[in-house]
């Protein structure tokens, strides 16, 4: 942490313009997105430029850490406040939060069991008793979607987690060491990028068997190259920075420079890509489960629900359309959040 702060002032003290930034942030001019985000950055790094550097040298360690955290917190709040004034962003965050919460505890939102059949209630349209209607076996579709969230979130998080870890590792190693290591890794990534993601995912799932974990692995292999490329590009930029050279000159070991200086300063864009790829992973997981590679019945991911409903598209359209709309909204929300964060980073 102190290193990070220290590096922040080494990085570009001249770029920071705290007073102007704060003013823009306080005035909260909505259209001036650039100003607002600049204010965010300024708020995050600005104060640390003065006393932050000393924390390593002089101040008692615990105090310095506490002060840094406080400054960070204020910084984060200052970054988020203008974002919270955007209704689209707030709605997207709320919806994603609802999906995650309902996926974790579906019973809070629906009293129906997702697998309890009720032949007399089959294919009922949306109503107050069944919010999203019932399927061909009389099961409550809303409850099935919420329970499907649990599975889809698990598979998606798994996929993105694997992809981020693997992508960061590949990207940092390739970018930092360069040379033949870089060439070798990037050609492998080129090959992976050349194969259509869905095709490769299908092949992997067929080889590994059906289920959540195979799907997560298959999707992560598909999205890892994107992370590797982005990370490498950032690392290439960061490793030329003066503070990295300073660290090296100061006698820091390769691994220390890589882990303490390069990696933490490269993952900003990767974080945005993570949110963005969450959307892509949701779509891929849904596509795989649509094709029947998901968890065995009666459990149903979102894709399975859409797939099951398509036989009734003419006569009971809600069976496919409502789960489809749900997936669409989730992906749209995730993309919107990622975009907003990306703007905020600039």
């Amino acid at each position: 942490m102190p290193d990070n702060l220290a590096s922040a002032d080494l990085m570009a003290p001249d770029l920071l313009d705290p007073p102007a930034g704060r003013a823009a942030g306080a005035s909260g001019d909505a259209p001036a997105a650039g100003d607002v985000t600049e204010a965010g950055e300024a708020a995050a790094h600005g104060p640390s430029s003065a006393p932050g550097g000393e924390s390593e040298a002089g101040e008692p360690w615990a105090d310095g850490r506490w002060a840094a955290w406080r400054r960070r917190w204020h910084g984060a709040a200052a970054t988020l406040t203008p974002l919270l004034r955007r209704p689209g962003f707030v709605l997207a965050v709320l919806f994603v939060a609802f999906v995650i919460l309902s996926g974790l505890v579906p019973s809070w939102f629906s009293s129906y069991s997702p697998s309890a059949t009720s032949p007399t209630d089959k294919l009922r349209g949306p109503s107050t008793s069944h919010l999203f209607g019932t399927d061909e076996l009389g099961r409550d579709l809303f409850s099935r979607i919420l329970h499907g969230s649990t599975l889809t979130i698990k598979a998606t998080s798994g996929a993105v987690l694997i992809a981020v870890v693997a992508g960061l590792a590949i990207g940092v190693i390739a970018g930092f060491f360069g040379g033949w290591v870089d060439v070798l890794l990037m050609r492998i990534v080129d090959v992976l990028l050349a194969i259509p993601i869905l095709l490769m995912a299908l092949t992997i799932v067929t080889a590994l068997g059906f289920g959540l974990l195979p799907m997560a692995i298959a999707v992560s292999v598909g999205i890892t190259p994107g992370f590797a490329r982005t990370t490498r590009a950032e690392v290439l930029r960061v490793r030329e920075q003066a503070y990295v050279e300073a660290a090296r000159t100061g006698g820091a070991s390769w691994s220390r420079v890589m882990l303490r200086h390069v990696l933490p300063n490269s993952w900003g864009p990767v974080a945005v890509l993570t949110v963005l790829d969450f959307g892509a992973a949701v779509l891929l997981i849904s596509a795989l489960s649509f094709l029947g590679f998901g968890t065995p019945p009666p459990a149903a991911e979102w894709g399975t629900l859409i797939s099951n409903g398509r036989n009734y598209l003419v006569t009971s359209p809600w069976l496919s359309l409502l789960p489809g709309l749900f997936v669409g909204l989730v992906v749209f929300s995730l993309n919107h959040i990622a975009r907003t964060l990306e703007e905020a980073q600039r």
């Binding site: 697998s115 309890a116 059949t117 032949p119 089959k122 294919l123 399927d135 061909e136 076996l137 009389g138 067929t206 059906f210 029947g292 065995p296 019945p297 009666p298 099951n308 398509r310 036989n311 009734y312 598209l313 003419v314 006569t315 009971s316």
Partner: protein, 562 residues
């Protein structure tokens, strides 16, 4: 042998009022004549005559779509895939035909026949003037070549193996008389001679390799010839000029009315139904019954629905009783019958009025018995049986014994709504029914290892002996036969199947097969789930539709109005 796999708009363009009225009158007449599952060719012939559309109009190509063609074979001697057999019925003729209404065997290429008392010798008198489409004459030699050729296929002919069980030789008595001999009695053989599997192809066909025959190098004597066949993509059939030897069940004694038949394969139900209602297709022919909702859509577009139960083995589940598996206990198997609610299953998955499974055989199979009393839903009885067997209800809602959960693994290629309904029905008595979905390529190896508790299976043949293909361990190496019975039970079952095949007298045969079906249910060797009804959608242009006894297409009387 294929295990059940599952897969699934609107226009009326009347230009003038007069035309619309005429069309409406015509449709009404046709619906009245052959709307409710008419069976035989004669009936269909009547409907064509009785319709106000008048005399059959020759010409036009019938466009028909099936759902898939996974076996990818068109050779009638080899194929078990029922859609291909439907086409084969119109390409190749057999010695006899079977009346769909009575199950009686009637003359076709053979004008008469005699059977000896112990069902080991069959002598057929052949019809005169029949030629294959390559010009060869049908004679006793051709029949011998065909039957020997089918036997030579061995296990490649999945159905032929059982149809010709105990086959010794075919001898040519004279050019128009042929004698088929068996070393063991085969009373089901006469019905077998009416099937597509024992269709007689031209002698030249048997010089081709089995693979080439599968790919379409076949020449028959049927009312249509096969122009081209591309597995799972398309097939084209053309009318055979000069055809004049249909079976006695066909009204049209001459050439077919249709100029040809164009076959396509559409896997997606909604696309197939949509293609029918917008007029791209004349007949939509899926494997799984068209849903009642889709039937309404077809009717609303002016089309109609034809239904007939496929004869043979119902959609059943077969247990694995070997090793330490829960179904090794007869009490658990008996509890399973009581736990299943078949009427509710039928109503939910299909519709009200769809026949409920009453036996391991479907409702149109000759000698089918009514076992419905033993298959009645009785959850309390099931609970009692399971308690007695030591499986007690745990706090998780499932039953346990010696720390083991009562889990039944059901192997399937697609977790259909039907599987999930069974799962929920069994859950209500505390049985954990796990649906294990595997790919088509993994299915057979997994099942052959016996890595399941329950496995589905059905087969089409209009004779009760068909059950032997899946359950007679003495005659079949199929996994359903191997794992569903212990040695003592297997001996008893084989004995009953043997009796059935050696009894020629119809009434006595009926008695044996009643006994067999009772035994299978009493001992929990097979769990009937649903009857199998072939449901097809037709446009109002199609007239003279007829089913064969095996619920295949018979196109001799079919014609299309303009």
């Amino acid at each position: 042998m294929s295990t059940s796999t599952r897969h699934r708009s609107r226009s009326l363009g009347g230009r003038r009022r007069l035309a619309t009225a005429a069309v409406a009158a015509m449709t009404a007449a046709i619906l009245a004549a052959c709307g409710s599952g008419s069976g035989g060719g004669a009936a269909a012939g009547d409907s064509a005559d009785g319709s106000s559309a008048g005399k059959p109009v020759p010409g036009g190509r019938l466009k028909i779509a099936f759902w898939n063609d996974l076996q990818a074979c068109i050779d009638p001697n080899q194929v078990y895939w029922i859609e291909s057999r439907s086409l084969d019925r119109n390409i190749a003729d057999s010695l006899t035909d079977q009346d769909p209404k009575t199950g009686k065997i009637v003359p076709w290429l053979a004008t008469s026949w005699t059977v000896n008392a112990d069902a080991t010798e069959y002598t057929f008198k052949l019809r005169d003037g029949v030629t294959f489409s390559d010009g060869t004459k049908l004679d006793a030699n051709a029949v011998k070549t065909a039957y020997d050729g089918t036997v030579a296929l061995g296990p490649r002919s999945t159905l032929g193996v059982t149809y010709l069980a105990g086959y010794k030789a075919t001898t040519v008595v004279d050019p128009s008389t042929v004698k088929v001999e068996f070393s063991t009695p085969n009373a089901a053989f006469l019905q077998a001679t009416s099937t597509t599997t024992l269709a007689v192809l031209s002698p030249a066909t048997y010089k081709e390799t089995p693979e080439a025959r599968c790919a379409g190098k076949i020449v028959g004597s049927g009312a249509f010839t096969l122009d081209s066949y591309s597995a799972a993509k398309s097939a084209k059939l053309t009318r055979r000029a000069g055809y004049a030897w249909p079976s006695s069940l066909v009204a049209n004694k001459g050439e077919a009315y249709l100029a040809g038949i164009d076959v396509s394969y559409i896997a997606e139900d909604s696309v197939r139904v949509g293609s029918l209602t917008n007029g791209t297709l004349d007949i939509a022919w899926p494997r799984q019954p068209i849903s009642s909702a889709d039937q309404d859509v077809i009717k609303a577009s002016g089309g109609r629905i034809e239904t007939r139960a496929l004869p043979g083995i119902s959609t059943n589940l077969y247990p694995n009783v070997t090793g330490d598996r829960p179904l090794g206990d007869l009490a658990v198997r008996r509890a399973l019958y009581k736990a299943l609610d078949l009427p509710s299953y039928t109503k939910t998955i299909f519709w009200d009025g769809y026949p409920v499974a009453k036996s391991p055989l479907t409702s149109t199979t000759p000698y089918v018995a009514d076992e419905s009393a033993k298959l009645a839903h009785d959850p309390a009885g099931a609970a009692k049986l399971l308690d007695g067997a030591g499986w007690t209800l745990g706090s998780d809602g499932y039953r346990h014994k010696d720390g083991r959960k009562l889990t039944l693994v059901a192997l399937t290629q697609a977790g259909t709504p039907g599987d999930q309904l069974v799962q929920d029905q069994l859950k209500k008595v505390g049985i954990d029914y796990q649906i294990k979905v595997v790919t088509a390529s993994q299915f057979t190896p997994t099942a052959a290892k016996g890595d399941y508790d329950l496995v589905p299976g059905y087969l089409t043949r209009a004779d009760p002996s068909v059950l032997g293909s899946l359950l007679n361990a003495a005659g079949s190496t199929f996994y359903t036969a191997k794992f569903s019975q212990d040695a003592a039970t297997a001996a008893k079952v084989s004995d009953l199947f043997g009796k059935g095949l050696s009894t020629v007298n119809a009434e006595a045969r009926g008695g044996v097969y009643q006994q067999l079906q009772d035994y299978l249910i009493d001992n929990g060797l097979v769990f009937p789930i649903a009857d199998r009804v072939q449901v097809i959608g037709l446009t109002k242009k199609v007239h003279g539709f007829a089913w064969t006894s095996e619920s295949f297409l018979r196109a001799n009387d079919l014609w299309l109005s303009k």
